[in-house]
């Protein structure tokens, strides 16, 4: 492998990591605040992809812009889903069976709505940029992804809403005690999580073709990333995304591309066995030894 090959792979891994982080961060926020594993995440990603497609086909809106527009739309959809359904789930500090069943059911409903509206043919968003020599689409996707992640980080650290999110994640009891309005914070947080799913779907839609089952393989990747990153930390997600992207990209050198998903699964199993606390626990261990 020449240095140029290596650099190429490294850059494409980096670009991939951005989008992986966007699709996982929504699940992390939702899990952290509500202790709900959002199995319907893939469904919302699919909606984001079709949303971008419709905007592109009907109004000739650039797919990256369309993906960014999917964010607010999916945000309100998510907030509505929270208001109508999730608010009624029993509260818990751990994931509950009712929440898992509800989210799985929601995914099936979204998927079948997708088949009803758009049919089961493969669709893709095709722009002049898609085939350009330097992959400007990937670069644009990466910039949009990182920009949104930075925005989230700013919101989480410098607004009252952000602090209430972190308070609920770190100690729900104390958050209630100091007057956090849990339903409101959780509703907005769920909206944000779904918004990020929509954004990720829209961005992925301009890279890959999709159908209403879109998102399933990405859901598994999101699980790997979240487990690697630790379940409740946002910066952990970025690191987890980077690790997965690096492993997937460089594995192409040794195994056929068709086995990529197997590699994700392998990494998930490995992480659960060796590093159940995520990469953060590894760092802590290293620090203790040093």
């Amino acid at each position: 492998m020449t240095l140029i090959d290596f650099t190429n792979l490294l850059v494409s891994a980096l670009l991939l990591a951005g989008i992986y982080a966007v699709m996982s961060v929504g699940m992390t926020v939702i899990y952290g605040v509500m202790k709900i594993v959002n199995l319907a995440h893939a469904g919302f990603m699919m909606l984001g992809a079709y949303f971008a497609l419709e905007l592109f086909q009907r109004f000739r809106i650039d797919p990256i812009i369309a993906a960014l527009l999917a964010f607010p739309v999916l945000f309100f959809l998510g907030a509505a889903v929270h208001w109508v359904l999730l608010r009624r789930l029993p509260r818990s500090d751990e994931p509950t069976l009712p929440s898992l069943l509800l989210m799985f059911g929601l995914w099936l409903v979204l998927q079948n709505l997708g088949y009803l509206i758009w049919g089961n043919t493969d669709r893709s968003i095709f722009t002049p940029r898609t085939l350009s020599v330097v992959s400007t689409v990937r670069l644009a996707v990466f910039i949009a992804a990182v920009g949104c992640l930075l925005l989230l980080e700013v919101i989480l650290h410098y607004t009252w809403f952000g602090r209430s999110v972190r308070a609920l994640i770190q100690n729900r009891y104390a958050a209630l005690l100091t007057g956090v309005y849990e339903d409101r914070t959780a509703g907005i947080a769920f909206g944000l999580g779904i918004g990020f799913a929509g954004l990720a779907g829209g961005l992925l839609g301009s890279l890959y073709s999709f159908d209403p089952d879109f998102g399933r393989p990405f859901l598994i990747r999101a699980f790997v990333i979240i487990v690697l990153g630790g379940l409740e930390s946002i910066s952990g997600v970025a690191i987890g995304a980077l690790v997965l992207a690096l492993v997937e990209t460089f594995s192409i050198l040794f195994v056929p591309a068709g086995y990529q998903l197997a590699i994700s699964f392998g990494l998930l199993a490995l992480a659960l066995i060796v590093l159940p606390g995520g990469l953060a626990s590894l760092l802590a261990k290293v620090r203790r030894v040093a």
């Binding site: 602090r163 770190q170 100690n171 100091t178 007057g179 956090v180």
Partner: protein, 242 residues
């Protein structure tokens, strides 16, 4: 603000259950404005449950929680914070990955309280200079005593009229225990009404104007602090003298 007299909080026939298990059986107590009241008793007697029910984090199954002639029993915790009731919970319960200053800020979360945040943080720093030194440190990295100061500081942020303290000295070094009790005395001297739960019975009784003994979810004895201190049953069961 410093006048004593008049009942600030009256709890009547409070009952609380965790699922099918009832833990409070008709608890009644009252706290006089400007005074220190204490609840003593052994582990699992229901002391913390009582405070959590007053703060609203636990829902009472029946009974009244009357604060300044208003029944709070059906209000969510945030509405009770807005009425200047705050609880410094057992085990501090800080947000470990937030800075000291963020922990304090969050103490006055309800929107209408936020405009006083800066002034209130300044007051807390004046009282605990050590917190000011560590303002941008993560709360999880503080020592036990500093964490307790931070928790008390957070409890002061809503400018409480009623401050509830749940085991504020548990697990602290003896020197720190004295220091924390001195802080509580200072807060009391500023006119804040205090409801204290403590396993350190000796301290708590010397400290309080009025005290309640709680056993298996019921108030079994009450009276001025000194009278409980000299009560033979209390001495034998809780102070270990025969």
């Amino acid at each position: 603000m410093n006048q004593t007299g008049g009942t600030l909080l009256r709890v009547q026939n409070l009952e609380v259950s965790y699922g099918a298990v009832q833990v409070l059986w008709g608890v009644s107590l009252s706290v006089v404005r400007g005074q220190v009241a204490a609840i003593i008793g052994s582990n699992g007697a229901g002391k913390s449950t009582t405070l959590n029910a007053i703060s609203g984090v636990l829902k009472a199954t029946s009974g009244r929680i009357v604060f300044k002639n208003e029944d709070l029993a059906s209000l969510p915790p945030r509405e009770r914070v807005r009425r200047h009731i705050s609880l410094v919970p057992e085990g501090r319960q800080l947000w470990p990955k937030m800075t000291v200053e963020e922990n304090l800020m969050m103490g006055a979360f309800p929107p209408k309280m936020r405009k006083n945040v800066k002034a209130n943080i300044a007051r807390v720093y004046e009282m605990f200079p050590r917190l000011k030194e560590r303002r941008s440190q993560l709360a999880g990295t503080l020592s036990g005593g500093e964490q307790q100061m931070c928790a008390i500081g957070r409890g002061l942020m809503p400018q409480p009229e009623l401050l509830m303290l749940d085991e504020p000295t548990l697990g602290l070094a003896p020197k720190m225990v004295d220091e924390i009790f001195q802080f509580v005395r200072d807060i009391s001297n500023q006119g804040v009404t205090i409801l204290l739960v403590a396993q350190n019975v000796n301290y708590a009784l010397q400290f309080s104007h009025y005290a309640y003994l709680m056993e298996t979810g019921k108030i079994t004895l009450e009276g001025p602090g000194e009278s409980l201190l000299s009560n033979q049953y209390v001495q034998e069961a809780y102070l270990g003298s025969s």
